[in-house]
C-alpha cells in the first residue's frame, strides 16, 4: 500500500460526508446505499465512523459531474477515467467526484428500483412474463396512463408483484420541487417543451418544469433516466424510442446492425434516418459501490496500490462478492489503527434446504421445505419470508408482520396460520415498519412511513404524523423500538435513536443519539428492532443479534430457525 506524501490523514475519527447531487442512472436510494456501504468497507476495519450530513461543511463532499465539473481535472466522457478523489484536508481536499458520463450501476447492468406498486420498492426482474408475453425492459403495456412498470419476479402472471419504473412522469430529483414529477408541456424561455430537455444547461443533465410554466414559477427538477436510457452517442440519457426506423427497416429493440463492433444501439427518436439521434444501449456499467469504496480510500489518505487484487489498485475490476484485501486493511490501519475488535459473525447454515414436492403457491400448506428456484408466496408461510416488515412482542407473544398479514408465535413449533392485519387492527395499512406495546399502559403503537397509530383495545387514534412526536422532517420511518418499563421507548431510524415519553408522546431532549455509540456490535442497518423476553433483538437480513440489557451481544442467530422455530 501507499499513503500520500506527508501521510495526509484526518485528525479526527468521526468523518462527515454530504451527497451534493445524484446521478440519473440510479434511484437516489440506491446511490445513498452504495455510498453508505462503501464507507462501511473502511469503518469495518478502523475506528472511523461516517455520518451523512445535510447542512454545513462536511469532511467529504460527493458529487457527480461531467467533463469540466468545477475543479482543474476534467473528466473524459464515457469509460477511461471513472472518478477521482482528493486526500484528506480542508476545502476540496477529501472530496470525491464521479464521472456522470459513465453508466453507473451496481456492476451487472441497469438497476431498476421500483416505487409504489406492491413490491415494496424491489428491483425489476428482467425478463418477466406479463399476459404471456416476455418483457426485457419496463413497459406501459396494460396501462393507459403512460406510466411504465415492471414485474419484480420473473412471472407477473403468477406472482402479481410489480412496481413503477423511474420516469419523469413519476418523480424528479434534486432541483427545487421536492421530487414532484414533470408537467408536460411546460414553458421555458417562451418555448413549449413536451419532454425533458438539456436546454439552458451546459452540464448535459436533463430537466423539466414541475409546473406548466417554468418562466413564471421557476419550479424544476432533474429527470431520472429510464431503464432504456442510452449511453454516449449524441443523446446521452435520452430513452430509446421503439419502434425506430434505420435504413428503412423497423426495429423494436436495440440492434447491432450498422456497427462493426457489435455493440447494441438504438435511436432516440422514431427515425434514425431522419434525425440521426442515437446512443448505445445500457451495458454492465460500473459498480458505484466499488468505485466509491476505492475513491473513499483516497479521501482517507491511501494512494494507489500495486497489488492487482487490492481495492486501491487503480484499474476498475468488477467483483461479485467483495471483501477488502489485506493490503488495503494494512494501509488504512497504518493510518488510523484497527477497530475495537471483530464484529459478531452470522453462523453458517448447518442444513441444506430440501426440495419441495409441492411447488404450487397460494396454498395454506405449512410445508417448510424450500426450493430456492421456485417462487413462493411468503404470505402463506412465515418460514418462507426472507425479511419481515416488523416483529414485536404484543401481549407476551411474538408477532411477525408481513404484507398485510401477521403470525403469532405459539408455545411450541412455528406459527401455523396467518391472520389478516385488517381483521385485528382495521385502521392499519398492509405494510408497517414497526410495532410495540408499551408495558405500562398496554397501548399498542404501529408505525408506517411518517405515520403512526395508537390502539387501546379496539379504539384507534391516528394516523398521525411523526411531527406530532417531535421528529424532524428528514426522519422517513421508524425501523424499530425498544420498550422499557418506565414509560419510555427507544425508537430507531438509521444510525440514530430517540427516546419517546409514551405518556406525553414527545421525544425527550438530548435526542437523537448515535446508535453506534450506545448499541455497539449490532448492525447499523438493522431493519427490525424489538424487545422479546427482556432481550433486545436487532435483525439484519435473515439474522438477529441478541443483546442483553447491559448492551452486550450474547448471540447471533437465525430469525427463521431460532425465533420462528422453522424445521
Amino acid at each position: 500500500f501507499q499513503t500520500f506524501e506527508g501521510e495526509l490523514k484526518w485528525d479526527h475519527n468521526d468523518i462527515t460526508y454530504k451527497i451534493l447531487n445524484y446521478s440519473p442512472d440510479l434511484d437516489p436510494e440506491v446511490i445513498d446505499d452504495a455510498f453508505a456501504r462503501a464507507f462501511k468497507v473502511w469503518s469495518d476495519v478502523t475506528p472511523l465512523t461516517f455520518t451523512r450530513i445535510y447542512d454545513g461543511e462536511p469532511d467529504i463532499n460527493i458529487l457527480f459531474g461531467s467533463d469540466n465539473h468545477g475543479d482543474p481535472y476534467p473528466f473524459d466522457g464515457k469509460d477511461g477515467l471513472l472518478a477521482h478523489a482528493y486526500p484528506p484536508g480542508e476545502g476540496v481536499q477529501g472530496d470525491a467526484h464521479f464521472d456522470e458520463d459513465e453508466n453507473w450501476t451496481l456492476g451487472t447492468g441497469v438497476v431498476v428500483k421500483t416505487r409504489f406498486g406492491n413490491a415494496d420498492g424491489a428491483i425489476c426482474s428482467f425478463p418477466f412474463v406479463f399476459d404471456g408475453e416476455t418483457y426485457t425492459s419496463c413497459t406501459s403495456a396494460g396501462r393507459s396512463d403512460g406510466h411504465i412498470w415492471c414485474s419484480t419476479t420473473p412471472n407477473f402472471d403468477k406472482d402479481q408483484k410489480f412496481g413503477f419504473c423511474p420516469s419523469e412522469l413519476l418523480y424528479t430529483f434534486d432541483g427545487n420541487s421536492d421530487g414532484q414529477p414533470c408537467v408536460f408541456p411546460f414553458i421555458f424561455d417562451g418555448e413549449s417543451y413536451s419532454s425533458c430537455t438539456k436546454e439552458g444547461r451546459d452540464d448535459g443533465y436533463r430537466w423539466c418544469g414541475t409546473t406548466a410554466n417554468y418562466d413564471k414559477d421557476r419550479k424544476y427538477g432533474f429527470c431520472p433516466n429510464r431503464d432504456t436510457a442510452v449511453v454516449g452517442g449524441n443523446s446521452q440519457g435520452d430513452p430509446c424510442v421503439f419502434p425506430f426506423t434505420f435504413l428503412g427497416k423497423t426495429y423494436h429493440q436495440c440492434t447491432s446492425d450498422g456497427r462493426s463492433d457489435n455493440r447494441l444501439w438504438c435511436a432516440t427518436t422514431s427515425s434514425y434516418d431522419n434525425d440521426q439521434k442515437w446512443g448505445l444501449c445500457g451495458d454492465q456499467g460500473y459498480s458505484l459501490f466499488l468505485v466509491a469504496a476505492h475513491e473513499f480510500g483516497h479521501a482517507l489518505g491511501l494512494e494507489h496500490s500495486s497489488v492487482q487484487d487490492a481495492l486501491m489498485y487503480p484499474m476498475y475490476k468488477y467483483v461479485k462478492d467483495f471483501s477488502l484485501h489485506s493490503d488495503d486493511i494494512n494501509g488504512i490501519q497504518y493510518l488510523y489503527g484497527a477497530g475495537s475488535g471483530p464484529q459478531p459473525t452470522p453462523p453458517k447454515p448447518t442444513r441444506k434446504p430440501r426440495p419441495t414436492t409441492t411447488p404450487s403457491t397460494r396454498t395454506t400448506t405449512t410445508t417448510t421445505s424450500v426450493d430456492p428456484d421456485v417462487p413462493v408466496d411468503p404470505t402463506q408461510n412465515p418460514c418462507k419470508v426472507k425479511q419481515f416488515d416488523a416483529i414485536a412482542e404484543i401481549q407476551g407473544q411474538l408477532h411477525f408482520f408481513k404484507d398485510g398479514v401477521y403470525w403469532k408465535l405459539p408455545a411450541s413449533g412455528p406459527p401455523t396460520s396467518s391472520i389478516p392485519i385488517r381483521d385485528t387492527w382495521p385502521a392499519l395499512p398492509s405494510n408497517i415498519d414497526t410495532a410495540f406495546q408499551d408495558p405500562q399502559s398496554k397501548k399498542i403503537f404501529f408505525f408506517a412511513g411518517r405515520r403512526f397509530w395508537q390502539y387501546t383495545g379496539n379504539t384507534v387514534l391516528g394516523p398521525r404524523s411523526l411531527d406530532k412526536l417531535g421528529f424532524e422532517k428528514d426522519v422517513e420511518e421508524i425501523s424499530g423500538a425498544i420498550t422499557r418499563n418506565n414509560g419510555k421507548v427507544l425508537l430507531f431510524n438509521g444510525e440514530n435513536y430517540w427516546r419517546l415519553d409514551v405518556k406525553s408522546q414527545t421525544v425527550d431532549k438530548g435526542y437523537p443519539r448515535s446508535r453506534d455509540e450506545d448499541f455497539a456490535g449490532v448492525p447499523l442497518d438493522a431493519h427490525d428492532i424489538f424487545v422479546y423476553q427482556d432481550k433486545y433483538y436487532f435483525c439484519q437480513d435473515s439474522f438477529f443479534w441478541r443483546m442483553t440489557w447491559r448492551k452486550q451481544v450474547e448471540k447471533v442467530g437465525y430469525v427463521k430457525y431460532d425465533l420462528l422455530r422453522c424445521p
Binding site: 506524501e5 481535472y73 473528466f75 469509460d79 477511461g80 477515467l81 471513472l82 472518478a83 477521482h84 478523489a85 454516449g232 452517442g233 449524441n234 435504413l247 446492425d257 450498422g258 456497427r259 462493426s260 444501439w265 440521426q276 442515437w278 460500473y286 468505485v291 476505492h294 475513491e295 483516497h298 494512494e303 494507489h304 500495486s306 497489488v307 492487482q308 489498485y313 487503480p314 484499474m315 476498475y316
Partner: protein
C-alpha cells in the same frame, strides 16, 4: 447465407481520433504522473522505455519496457483518475 451485403454506418461522434498506441501511451504516462509534460517531444526511446518500465512496475505488470499487449490493455482499461505517481 445472407445475400445482403452488410451495411456499416459511421455514427456521428463515433469517429475516433486515429491516435496511435504510442500517442495514447504518452498521454496516459503524463496524466498519471509517470512522465512530465513535454518529455514526449524529445522522442527519446530510452527515456520512454524507462518510463514504461516504471509504469509496468507500479501496476504490477511484466516489466518489459515495451508497449506490449498487456501494457496497452492496461492503458485502455477504465480506472481512477488520481495519478499513480506524484501529487
Amino acid at each position: 447465407t445472407s445475400h445482403h451485403k452488410p451495411v456499416s454506418v459511421i455514427f456521428p461522434s463515433d469517429i475516433r481520433s486515429n491516435s496511435s498506441d504510442l500517442e495514447r501511451a504518452q498521454k496516459y504516462l503524463i496524466r498519471y504522473g509517470y512522465m512530465p509534460p513535454g518529455l514526449q517531444q524529445t522522442d527519446n526511446q530510452n527515456t520512454l522505455r524507462e518510463v514504461v518500465t516504471k509504469m509496468q512496475k507500479k501496476l504490477g505488470l511484466k516489466e518489459t519496457g515495451e508497449l506490449d499487449g498487456e501494457t496497452i490493455a492496461a492503458i485502455n482499461s477504465p480506472r481512477c483518475g488520481v495519478p499513480d505517481v506524484g501529487k
